[in-house]
Point group: C2
């Protein structure tokens, strides 16, 4: 990894440095795929192994990890999708409408190649509303990806400056950094100053879909007073962001006036910012939420750009005590109603979920969401399986995230170690992303996703064969794996040594095990019957072989 | 926290420093419990809250966190249990025999108070073999604790020096450090030099039960060559350790000769050290394992001291690919057979489990263990839910650990970030312990363990009320929670501020939510009916109140 300085042209944007270059042990590689006469270049990260083989993994990092790419933050990434035609059909220009019309778009071909599935499966799932392709026509820089339970579980990383801290430069680097380590989408949750400009820099340079919560910017426009919000201010903010290319928008349109009192007896009330903004507005005006009453107009706007709805759970639980309560599920029923409306406008929809939920109440969330929202992709924040570990909420939430993803959740919003405590820095973003790759991949394994176990097998095989460097490079974070190994055994020969620091050179279970295998295979002793029948007579033979096999054990 | 230097008397043991003093925000407190005329002092960690209340939590840390205790490592901890009588019954002097005879021992009373359950429940579970109390008569320094699925899920921390690294001093401090943060038992897995002496220092100073794998020391006695092992060498090692006070011993007696070829086709063969040692011995001699053939004699030895068997899973899977295979479950069936034999000798038994298991195959492990081993407490190492994240295996395994504990596993062996890569240092031990407290507590919540949610509620209430200091102190790791908070908002007033760095001072969902609650409660608007009936007429009223309520929102 190198850090490439890109000098700003002296404008107001202080973006000047992002991380470029491949991840340790791998190179950017492109697979060529033919789609209706167009050649698509599908990016993969190719991990070169020491045994001459290679292993390709899904790659979210865009051109930044391509040694041959020229990164120009001022100019933005190449507009990959600009030349791809938009099919003309009855209905809005959205992937949903095209899928329903039986059209397999370039985006669908691209995604099929990335996921290792048929283009027709991609089309079917989008047409059914069980998967979404967040891809605003005005964000042609993004590499198409899909969110749906038949595909690999995705993760989102939140970035964004706040009134308290951090600059545009930091946020662009966080985006590059998060996608480097595997973020499938990012959400720009900036508040405070420079929201529009920060977002512009992020969008022009983001290889992944970008989501926002337009309400945050609308609130800035009324100087932070939720009671001063109007539909017009909100709508204009949505259009402003749509024009910039935002791919999906969180809209808390399910927080209805009558649900607000349901939160009064909660331990932690309303913890969603969007939810509490709308609750404040509804109570102050004693009117139904303007997001709900103007939802159809919102659909018309989003349809035009093919922006995906992420229907927000403004009443999600903020503590174990509040999980799965009446307020939460009342809102979910309304989200189901809104899902149907959005889809009738040809708009793609996903549904946001909690939050804080004890393990035994997690699966019920998926079951209800699928029942009420026509299996629209579920996109959850964790959930945290306990409240008692601030500073470790990436872990408390990874437990919940893995379980909820196994049950069918399509995308997981990451949580960093700083959750509930402060703003994540660059290291926190990486830990959050890696932790959520673990949760997502664990779920892929549990769902027996076609390709998932190949990587586990490759890494475990490398481990068993003492190919230390391959073990590092096949891992989610080669830098840290190598660093931890070197802390105990820094010498270079230890990278090929047939032992590790846990047992030391004198005795190693992995090595003995390899010897056992070698012996057993040589003798054809690979099942119980064979050994029972054949081993007695081979005892003396093994004693000889054993002498040799175990010789190095005696130091 | 302070670091108290205890000067060595110049002997060979280089132990001179351990961490003492209470955890930030709490003090050691003792509850007095009367048990058959004896006054028992039950330790708790008392967290003093800023609102004048306090919250007591289970405390594993022993006298080290007691400001009034004098720590003398040379002298060891006070011999708490030495004066407690050993009931005379038909059968060996074990908690199992006593429980079966209907006797509630002092240990059971002590445990009942710690767990908040009736002494009779403790006795019943021990009598049924569904719970164990690892308490060697020769380790009277330990504070009684229980491992069983009806009780809080426990965690074990492995320590121990190896041929490659670390000293006795480091290991004693790791024991103190691990129990400080919540380790319920520790295992001393030392190899290399000074095994006996290291263990002596640990036992004399450990307030929690200590487990070992006697085979490791036996192997040292034959200079690391497993083929040179004999039953006599092993037995004498067991007796040596029993005399020192080891509370439970891992014995890999289920690795039978005929199972070994079942591992030949595995991706990662045999990964248990004990398992591979026995496999090597069986193959070299072409004889059945001496642990298996001499198991009854072993039972007689363990019964005398009331040492608990931890029947090791020498054929546990070392990778996702090998999970739940024939080798693993064949051994488990043998462990079931050995469980019955051990219990017939009055010896307490728990069963060790994997390892590496994808989420969808985890519950089957618990189901089979309970079926085959008469519900003896299950004690698992993780399991890791994926192989692809070395350097984060505390997290990959916490996912599996939480799930397997929810399913009924009674104790979880921690995994540190260094797993598969190197030896854990002090920081790694802490991260491993806290991560496993998260997994264990998440399972307690999911099992609806009587007291579990109280702590979540207390912390969430503190969070909602902006009692930052209480939020830190109620967490599993107050030091790190405070440190992360201060990184973004270091000023002392921020500890009482009604906002945090995530949203900044202008807008805060928690604060709005508190305002909503206050308003709704004032109006009696606590359910849907009430608001629908009553709110229309109260609108103007709220607008006024709202004006005041939200005034501070506008900066």
């Amino acid at each position: 990894m190198s850090s490439s300085r890109v000098v700003s042209n002296g404008g107001s944007a202080p973006v000047d440095t992002v991380t470029t270059g491949p991840i340790q042990g791998s190179v950017k590689h492109y697979e060529q795929v033919e789609a209706d006469g167009t050649a698509l270049r599908i990016p993969v990260r190719r991990i070169n192994l020491t045994n001459g083989e290679h292993f390709d993994v899904y790659d979210t990092s865009g051109p930044y990890t391509d040694d041959t790419a020229v990164i120009d933050l001022e100019g933005g990434l190449p507009k990959l999708r600009d030349s791809w035609e938009k099919p003309q059909v009855e209905g809005p220009p959205t992937q949903l409408a095209w899928a329903r019309a039986g059209i397999v778009t370039k985006e669908m071909h691209y995604i099929a190649a990335r996921e290792g599935v048929s283009p027709e499966l991609v089309r079917e799932e989008v047409a059914a509303g069980r998967a979404v392709i967040p891809a605003n026509h005005k964000h042609p820089e993004s590499e198409p990806m899909i969110i749906g339970k038949k595909f690999a579980v995705k993760i989102n990383a939140n970035i964004g400056n706040s009134a308290v801290s951090s600059s545009i430069a930091e946020e662009v680097e966080k985006m590059v950094w998060a996608t480097r380590w595997g973020a499938d989408t990012i959400m720009d949750l900036s508040t405070g100053k420079n929201i529009h400009e920060t977002r512009e820099w992020i969008l022009r340079n983001s290889p992944v879909p970008v989501g926002t919560v337009p309400m945050y910017q609308a609130l800035e426009k009324v100087n932070g007073d939720p009671t001063k919000l109007t539909w017009e201010i909100y709508r204009d903010t949505v259009i402003e962001q749509a024009e910039q290319g935002v791919d999906y928008m969180t809209v808390h349109a399910g927080v209805l006036l009558r649900y607000i009192p349901l939160t009064a007896k909660r331990v932690t009330g309303i913890v969603s910012r969007g939810g509490s903004i709308m609750a404040a507005w509804c109570l102050a005006h004693h009117q139904e939420s303007f997001l709900y009453t103007n939802f159809r107009e919102l659909c018309e706007i989003l349809a035009k750009y093919d922006i995906t709805f992420s229907l927000g759970d403004g009443l999600r639980p903020g503590s174990i005590a509040d999980a799965n309560d009446e307020a939460q599920f009342a809102e979910l029923r309304t989200l189901g109603e809104l899902t149907k409306i959005a889809k009738s406008y040809g708009v793609q929809v996903m549904i946001e979920g909690p939050g804080h939920v004890p393990m035994h109440k997690i699966v019920e969330n998926v079951r209800l969401e699928e029942e009420l929202c026509e299996e629209a992709p579920f996109y959850t924040l964790g959930p945290l399986a306990t409240d008692i570990a601030p500073a470790y909420d990436h872990i408390t939430s990874a437990i919940g995230a893995a379980i909820i993803a196994q049950a069918g959740t399509a995308m997981l919003c990451y949580v960093t170690p700083k959750e509930h405590l402060g703003l994540p820095n660059r290291d926190d973003v990486k830990v959050g992303v890696i932790t959520y790759k673990i949760a997502a991949h664990s779920a892929d394994l549990a769902k027996q996703h076609p390709r998932a176990q190949e990587r586990d097998n490759a890494l475990s095989k490398a481990r068993f064969e003492f190919r230390w460097v391959d073990q590092f490079n096949l891992s989610l974070d080669p830098d840290t794996a190598r660093e931890y190994h070197d802390e105990t055994l820094p010498a270079e020969p230890a990278k090929t040594a047939h032992f590790c620091s846990m047992c030391g050179p004198k005795f190693c279970s992995m090595r003995i095990s390899a010897d056992v295998r070698e012996y057993a295979e040589k003798q054809g002793l690979t099942d119980v019957q064979a050994i029972e029948a054949g081993m007695a007579e081979k005892s003396a033979e093994f004693a000889d072989a054993g002498g040799k096999v175990y010789l190095p054990v005696v130091s």
